[in-house]
Assembly symmetry: C2
Homo-oligomer: 93 residues x 2
């Protein structure tokens, strides 16, 4: 999220509220809190959108995500993907 340009900010702000439903497993920082949930901090936005859509459609299955994604609108999915993808992540060398 870039506070100077505002790029991604609206999406992130809305996304952060919607992300409250994700935090028990993925954290608001996108770092996994349970062994079977992936880290999603800084994950590619198109990948997050695609995976949420495949969970929603049933093409990909998960005990938790199949339930959660079934309730998401396309806008929810865009907002959540915008939020988590905007978290900056780097590899530590």
């Amino acid at each position: 999220m870039d506070f100077n340009t505002g790029h991604g900010y609206a999406g992130d702000k809305v996304g952060r509220i919607k992300a409250l439903m994700c935090q028990a497993c993925h954290g608001l920082d996108g770092l996994s809190k349970v062994p079977d949930a992936p880290n999603i901090d800084g994950q590619l936005e198109p990948y997050l959108v695609a995976q949420l859509q495949t969970f929603k459609s049933g093409a990909r299955k998960s005990d938790s995500m199949s339930v959660v994604a079934s309730s998401l609108s396309d806008q929810d999915i865009e907002d959540l993907a915008a939020y988590f993808s905007a978290i900056e992540m780097q590899v530590v060398f």
Copy 2:
């Protein structure tokens, strides 16, 4: 990877060689090189094992990963998961 204790070293070294087949999409650093491949640097090891197994079994489908995973042994999957999960990643605040 901890060079002092050697923890994870053997797995990582073998995994790094096997990871050459992954690098075009995921990079040897685990950072995605193509829009439809996720970052997998520092991803949870049990999650990586589970996903590779579901791609191999056909329970999860992907044009590229369904092909790649079909050729992987259980040992390959363990080595690759050990390698990518050992890459240190952090959220930048």
